[in-house]
Each structure stands twice: as structure tokens, then as C-alpha cells.
């Protein structure tokens, strides 16, 4: 993988800086770019799956109880899920240290 060594010398880069080993998106946790996180109130959730489909990161999944939740290792806090949810049961909460 091209970026296994986080700070490679120029002679160590893969041809055309290709990522030569699949799975780098999983290995690179990008959730820390987020400034706000989605928070669910399951009361009104009808389990329609709209949030699951619209999440551009593909990081919302249904849990064992049938309700969706975001994998915060990858959620960028874009706010699309609350915007698309037809029942308004997701809200964005600021990330505060």
C-alpha cells in the first residue's frame, strides 16, 4: 500500500502513487474531520433506511435492534442524514472536546 509508511521518500512511492492494496479507506479513519455528529431519537424512526442510503460515506448501518446509527470512525458530519430523514429524528450535535 502506498501510504503504509506514512512519510515515504520519493523513491518509495508506488507507481503513479497508486494504492496497491485494497482496504485503505477502512484503514484510514477519517471521522476526525467532523465538527458535528448525527444523533438519533429512535422514537420517531420508521426504519425506512433513507439515511442509510443517502449517507455519502456509507457509514450508517442498522443495528441489531433495527434502528440505524453512524460509525463515527468514518462519519464526516456532513449533515445529509438529518436533512433527508423524513421523520426528523436525526439532529446534528456540535463536537466539543
Amino acid at each position: 500500500m502506498a501510504y503504509q509508511n506514512a512519510r515515504p521518500k520519493w523513491t518509495e512511492l508506488a507507481v503513479g502513487t497508486a494504492v496497491t492494496c485494497p482496504g485503505s479507506s477502512r484503514a484510514t479513519k477519517t471521522g476526525d474531520w467532523r465538527s458535528a455528529r448525527p444523533v438519533w431519537t429512535n422514537e420517531h424512526c420508521v426504519k425506512c433506511g433513507v439515511c442509510v442510503i443517502f449517507c455519502p460515506e456509507g457509514c450508517i448501518q442498522f443495528q441489531a435492534d433495527g434502528y440505524p446509527t453512524a460509525d463515527l470512525d468514518y462519519c464526516k458530519g456532513c449533515g445529509i442524514c438529518p436533512h433527508e430523514c423524513p421523520t426528523g429524528c436525526i439532529r446534528m450535535q456540535d463536537e466539543v472536546e
Binding site: A2, Y3, A6, R7, P8, K9, W10, L13, V15, G16, T17, A18, V19, T20, C21, P22, S24
Partner: protein, 391 residues
């Protein structure tokens, strides 16, 4: 055996691409490159070339398709000119950064406005820094030969970079000239099958073209700088291999009657041929004038140029393009930059000639030689000259 036939250069270039067994042609027709694309489209439609012809909706798409097919391991060709080349601009950088050995014909033409479809080099000069190998041809034979050679060079594993084969629009592209058409066996002997360094393959997945964060970008650019500079040696070697098979030798820089010259003139592309006639005429009158023809533009052949110039006191450089509000001639600027700090470097006189299809005649060259002799006599460099300007 090669056959000498009368053929339009564009048709011959298309035939050459066929001889190289290109797998994909993705191109958008634009004057004066049209005949190349039309003929390739016919060759594919008629079953003479087993390739995918992708009739894209723009040059931006043409170059994007080329990147995709080359990444998938297909020998890929395209051709363009002028505004079309400009429309490809952003994708040209991607092709070189991803090390995709695409071969592209560029029938050089002015960039509008005012609207102009005729020949100069203002289209390609703005593409100087895209990281491609760039070479200039003087005639149809050279355009055919260097198209075949281009596949070999681009696909050389030491290089694996895209290449632009430049020739003057109309003046070369539309000229019917007698030329030696290579035959399939010779091309086969010269050009091995394409073995990409890596390719998109579902059984061995890789991602080509990922993000290059600030911590990687400098290193990635150094790789490109290194590769293109180091491409010089493979270029010379493969041109030598070409000469062995086809008996025609091309060098990064050619000289004409330069050895004992008092003044030299540097040209790129087809005007070098008229310039040779002008040199002969001046020589017949006893004036020691000579010519330097710059064929390879990227990587810039510094050492070849220095050798060609020797200790010449005055050098004229002809540009077919203007860098407005800057150092006027892009080629002259590069030549001067190359000479900076060298001992006994020549005075460099800048000419801009043949803009937007204006003829550059033997008389024009005569006047340029006069200006060079005047600079030699006075030791003074005149302001850049727009050749043939009505004042």
C-alpha cells in the same frame, strides 16, 4: 519492405497507428487534425483495425477515456489540436501523474481569438509543464516515424509516460508527400506488445489516482521530474533502435551547416525545412549561416543544445507563439534560461514568426540572418522582432 507512396500525412499517421495495433482510439475531430480521426474511424469500421473507436463528445472526454483505457492496459491513441488541446488541459496532468503511456498527435494550430484555424505553436506551448514527453516533427515522414516510435518510448518501462507528437497543422498534416510507409513486419520487430507497469484488474485490485496529501505531493512531483528528465536516455536509445530497423535516424537536436557558422538560427517544426533553403542561398553568397532544429522539447535536451551551439557568438531563436507581457518567446526564454551562467554564451536574438498561419518565407529568413549579422557587428541585442509585422 517499405513502400514509397504519395500520401497525405494525416492519413499516413492514422495508418501508422493501425500498424502499431492500437487497442483504443478516443478522439474528437478538430481542424486540422480531422483527417487522422476520420481515417482511424473508417479503419475500425471497415475491420482493418481491431480497436475500440470511442466517438466522445469533447476533448475533455477524449483524454478522460484515454486515461481509463490506458489504465486498463490498452494501447491508446488520440489526436487533437488548438482549442481541443486546451480543453484536455486538466486531464493531461492526470495522464502523466498516473504514468499512462498514451500517444497523442497534435496538429499544431493557433489558439483563438481572433478565431483562427491556422498553424502556429500557441496551442502546445501552454502545455509545456504537463509532464508529457513532447517532440516536434518537420514533415510527414517524421510524423509517421515518430508516431510509431512514440508507442515504443511511451511504453518503455523506464519511462511509462504519455507523449505528444507535434507537427504543424495544414503545413504538415494536409501535405501529400512521397514517404516511406513502414510495413507491419518492421513495426512488429520494433514495437513489442504493450506490457503496462500496472493496470486496473479486478483480480488484483488497485486504486489509481488517489488523493496526494501535502505530505506526499512534493515527493510525487519529484518522481515526475525525475522520470521525465531520465527519459532522455531511453529516448536516444529507442531513436537508435528505430534507425536500426527503419534506416532513418532522428536526434533530439539537429544542426544544418552549423559547424563553421558565424550565426545560428534555431527553429522548431516545419519551418526548419524552408530555413534550410534560406541557409543554402545565403551560403551560396558566402555568408556563414547555419541552423539548429530543436526536435525534442520535453525533456529539454540541454547537452545536445550546448553541443549544437558550440561557441557561436549570436543565436536567433524563432518562436511560433507569444508569451504576452512576459519574455515574448517561450522557446527563446527556455534557451536563454538554459544558457544562463554558461561561459561565452551567445547573444540571443528573439523572433516571433508564422503566427496564425502566416507564411514564413525565405525572404523572411534572409531578414532574420541580416539581423543576426547586425547583432554580431554591434554586439547589441535588438528588441524581439515580430517577423512581417506591418507598421
Amino acid at each position: 519492405m517499405e513502400k514509397r507512396i504519395g500520401i497525405e500525412a494525416s492519413i499516413a499517421i492514422a495508418e501508422a497507428v493501425g500498424l502499431c495495433d492500437a487497442d483504443v482510439v478516443a478522439a474528437y475531430p478538430i481542424t486540422p487534425q480531422t483527417h487522422i480521426v476520420e481515417h482511424l474511424s473508417e479503419m475500425v469500421a471497415d475491420g482493418h483495425l481491431d480497436a475500440a473507436f470511442v466517438p466522445v463528445e469533447s476533448e475533455h472526454s477524449a483524454m478522460s477515456v484515454c486515461c481509463g483505457t490506458s489504465a486498463a492496459g490498452a494501447r491508446t491513441f488520440t489526436a487533437t489540436s488548438s482549442q481541443g488541446l486546451a480543453l484536455m488541459h486538466e486531464i493531461l496532468y492526470i495522464a502523466s501523474a498516473l504514468r499512462l503511456p498514451i500517444v497523442m498527435s497534435v496538429a499544431n494550430r493557433a489558439i483563438s481569438g481572433p478565431i483562427n484555424i491556422w498553424n502556429d505553436h500557441s496551442d502546445v506551448m501552454v502545455e509545456r509543464d504537463v509532464g508529457w514527453v513532447q517532440i516536434f516533427c518537420e514533415n510527414g515522414q517524421e510524423a509517421v516515424d515518430l508516431t510509431i516510435w512514440a508507442f515504443r518510448l511511451a511504453e518503455d518501462p523506464r519511462v511509462s509516460l504519455p507523449i505528444m507528437v507535434n507537427f504543424d497543422g495544414f503545413i504538415v498534416s494536409h501535405m501529400v508527400e512521397p514517404l516511406f510507409m513502414p510495413d507491419r513486419e518492421m513495426v512488429k520487430a520494433f514495437l513489442p506488445p504493450f506490457k503496462p507497469l500496472q493496470r486496473l484488474d479486478i483480480d488484483n485490485p488497485i486504486s489509481m489516482g488517489p488523493v496526494g496529501i501535502p505530505d506526499i505531493f512534493t515527493e510525487a512531483k519529484q518522481v515526475q521530474q525525475h522520470l521525465l528528465t531520465q527519459a532522455y536516455q531511453p529516448i536516444v536509445e529507442t531513436l537508435g533502435e528505430f534507425a536500426k530497423v527503419f534506416k532513418r535516424q532522428y536526434k533530439p537536436v539537429e544542426t544544418y551547416r552549423g559547424d563553421d557558422a558565424d550565426v545560428l538560427l534555431l527553429t522548431m517544426g516545419a519551418i526548419g525545412e524552408t530555413a534550410m533553403t534560406a541557409v543554402d542561398q545565403r551560403r551560396a553568397k558566402g555568408d556563414k549561416v547555419g541552423l539548429v532544429r530543436l526536435r525534442l522539447w520535453r525533456p529539454f535536451p540541454f547537452e545536445d543544445l550546448f553541443r549544437a551551439l558550440g561557441r557561436i557568438p549570436v543565436l536567433g531563436v524563432i518562436d511560433r507563439c507569444i508569451s504576452f507581457g512576459g519574455p515574448v518567446g517561450p522557446v527563446a526564454c527556455e534557451v536563454k534560461g538554459a544558457l544562463y551562467g554558461r561561459k561565452d554564451h551567445p547573444l540571443v536574438v528573439e523572433f516571433v514568426a508564422g503566427l496564425g498561419g502566416r507564411d514564413v518565407t525565405v525572404t523572411d529568413f534572409d531578414k532574420m540572418f541580416d539581423a543576426l549579422f547586425e547583432a554580431k557587428r554591434s554586439g547589441k541585442v535588438p528588441a524581439p522582432v515580430l517577423v512581417g509585422l506591418r507598421e
